[in-house]
Assembly symmetry: C2
Homo-oligomer: 299 residues x 2
């Protein structure tokens, strides 16, 4: 039977889906809203279905094809059993696997090769494949982890702005601009921080990199410290015998010039994105026999 | 009329009160629970009254004396007008001033002298008196400020424990102990951090100092970085012309050996605590004429 393969890349702000034939060639793509299976599983389910229907529509395929499809879903929260079993039992597909969002990013970036992928965005997390076995490093979230993340950079910038305001450290154009934006009011910065999510801090990361590139002392200091954290993690990964590194995520191109050179270690461009990785895993899963029961979540 | 003077030192975990005669000599002390006028003003009011009644009882004075007393209350949140007017209108005293908790600490530590007081505890904040004028520096809370605070030290320790767990940084006895306490589970540390208040992180500060004193590499690194932040602030204060520094708060004796020497600058022992400072301000206020209306909050 020639059923379709579906890949899903779901996250806290949007859900992307792609449909492919048996050869893995993508026929159509769709996008919808947040798919956070921990905080709002009903909405996640609705958005998974919506994005997939949009992909089928773009491919000129009838939506009835969903119920015959094999799907692999890369979703944050895949290690929380209750959330996964709730979702898995309600998916519209013939067969489905829920895997880590990081695993589909790894598959997209490296294909089937060994190596490590550093995801550098609002958060930071590292995935490693060695002789086919995947492990993870870092992450752990904004509060006690995610070193070098956009959120941490933004938080550091607001902190430096307050130190400049108090005359504890010299003012630079970067901290001056932030202070002006908040009306030179420490209270306004504190109020922002009181309700800020990591993504809210992360929106300042681009400005930190721009300022650093222009030689702003605070920008340079913040980026150097963050790049130092990333370098430490990459060193630990290389020490495990990994020889191929790949940087993905919105901050990857910005960090590249600030990271250490590692002789003998290749920095590979990502082959494809996470959505393509999810489709590739769906094609592999479809070829495997026996395929896991659709209620079973595989890592 | 010979009414009594009341000093109140109210904070997020407890409220202390003292009653004194016209000469400022303390006759009795009382203690009760949290007095946070921002998050729970009704409870704060109840605890202010309870602590004061306990002080009158210890002094052998009738509780009816409250309504004739002159009080100065050092309360965090004194710069939030709505909270202050709510409290001020409901206090049981004849006349009252609500001032900053930091001001009563400064008065206690320095008396009427010029100088600066560094409050080093779960948070950090600095107060400066120059030619009688009081200003503040630092603070700004756990999220984007309070550098060198116990809360920041504790957060840093958990972060280092996770880095050790991931093999990104070497393990030390300190991080090993923390990991063991959390069952070597990153998820357990993340869950703790998810709901941790600054005081929860701050409870780890003492162990960081103990480990640093024993030469633990992570302990030394965390304390050196935190002490560096405090030294930067003290440098900025000295640059303003301040010649007397005073360290107060639970971490003050622990930080002392890690801070830079400043030739020509005196490190003064605090003359008294914040409660005594509040009483001294009440005695001064009582002598001033006209005394501010009890509904008026003064800084």
């Amino acid at each position: 039977m020639d059923h379709y393969r579906v890949g899903i890349d779901g996250g806290g702000t949007r859900c992307r889906a792609a449909v492919a034939g048996a050869d893995g060639r993508i026929l159509g793509r769709g996008i919808s809203g947040a798919a956070n299976i921990l905080t709002d599983p009903e909405t996640a389910l609705a958005h998974i279905r919506l994005a997939t229907e949009a992909a089928f529509q773009e491919a000129g395929l009838p939506a009835s094809g969903l119920s015959a499809a094999t799907a692999v879903l890369g979703l944050a929260g895949n290690n929380v059993a209750d959330a996964v079993s709730f979702i898995a039992a309600r998916l519209p597909f013939a067969r489905a696997q829920i895997v880590s969002d990081v695993l589909v990013a790894l598959q997209g970036a490296l294909g089937d090769r060994d190596g490590a992928v550093a995801s550098l965005g609002t958060g930071t997390v590292y995935s490693i494949r060695q002789q086919g076995t995947v492990s993870m490093l870092g992450g752990h979230g904004f509060k006690v982890g995610d070193l070098g993340s956009g959120a941490r950079l933004g938080q550091g910038l607001l902190q430096e702005a307050l130190l400049a305001h108090d005359g504890i450290r010299p003012t630079t154009p970067l901290t001056e601009a932030v202070l002006a934006e908040f009306g030179r009011s420490p209270e306004a910065i504190i109020a922002f921080a009181h309700t800020a999510h990591p993504a809210d801090y992360g929106r300042y990361a681009g400005r930190v990199f721009s300022a650093a590139a222009a030689g702003d002392a605070v920008g340079v200091q913040l980026v150097r410290m963050a790049a130092g954290h990333i370098d430490q993690t990459l060193d630990a990964i290389v020490a495990r015998g990994v020889r191929t590194l790949c940087l993905v995520g919105g901050l990857a191109p910005l960090y590249r010039p600030w990271l250490a050179d590692r002789p003998g270690i290749a920095i590979a461009e990502p082959a494809a994105d996470a959505l393509t990785g999810a489709v590739a895993l769906a094609v592999q899963a479809s070829a495997s026999d026996p395929f896991p029961n659709h209620r079973e979540a595989a890592q």
